[in-house]
Symmetry: C2
Subunit: 154 residues, 2 copies
């Protein structure tokens, strides 16, 4: 991998991703395995619910977001290692044939206080549909390696 | 569905789930599709990383947690509709052949201020492995229907 080190990130930096089109078969396949609720499986049943029509599982949107993030230029050296999230919301349903893409923004960059070889970045990830509407917003923390310091003197 | 209404929840209530054993093939299949990083796919490559050996994608653990939650007695009437998470962390890797189960605790129960037919519950979900160690902790908010008030007297 040829990703970025902690020193390569700065608050305010932004990145974008490629696009992924989510079709009905993908939504139903994910839901069958992990989130088999009527509003993720059957459009007629979904119309009677809060969703007003078939919608992808939020965990499916989260998994697609992960995949898109891995293909972006934000990726740290060594890969994306999430330490956890401060926030994860789904402001709007993902519908069959929506085309998703990411807007990524670095919020904080912090060297570790105890481990000189790494640090953390805090990142806001907004997953947008083809109408530029957010369908997922997360604020997460990633573990990122530092460049090793130059060896001392001579 | 025959789930619970807002009035059936109270802070401090706890629920448990069944168990799910995660095998190597499941971990690799999920990772191939959504999180194709070496530490989720190949044990030898994973040994060189922070994970120290092959580990499931955190999003796979989250998806399994969703499935286990759906099979628990916590399920609200109408299903599990997540409004978002205040916290989501993976304190420890999930390894091939780990057996996962949930401990669920209701933290808050709030009627909606604007919509008389619903409310929210705040829920801490701890996903445990077979050694009773937490592998995922989340604090999330679910939309839950209220029992309709009795019609006013004639």
């Amino acid at each position: 991998m040829t990703g970025r080190y902690l020193e390569d990130y700065a608050p305010g930096q932004t990145f974008v991703s490629g696009r992924h089109r989510v079709d009905l078969a993908q939504i139903q396949r994910f839901a069958t395995q992990f989130d088999p609720q009527p509003f993720h499986l059957d459009d007629a049943a979904a119309r009677e619910t809060l969703f007003g029509g078939l919608a992808a599982s939020g965990w499916h949107t989260a998994a697609i977001t992960m995949r898109l993030m891995l293909e972006s230029e934000m990726v740290p050296q060594g890969g994306i290692i999430g330490a956890g999230f401060d926030e994860l919301t789904w402001p709007r349903p993902v519908r069959p044939d929506d085309e998703l893409r990411l807007h990524l923004e670095i919020l904080e960059v912090r060297p570790s206080r105890t481990k000189p070889d790494r640090g953390m970045i805090k990142l806001r990830t907004t997953t947008l549909n083809q109408h530029d509407q957010p369908v997922q917003i997360s604020v997460g923390n990633l573990v990122v390696p530092r460049r090793l310091p130059a060896p001392r003197g001579i």
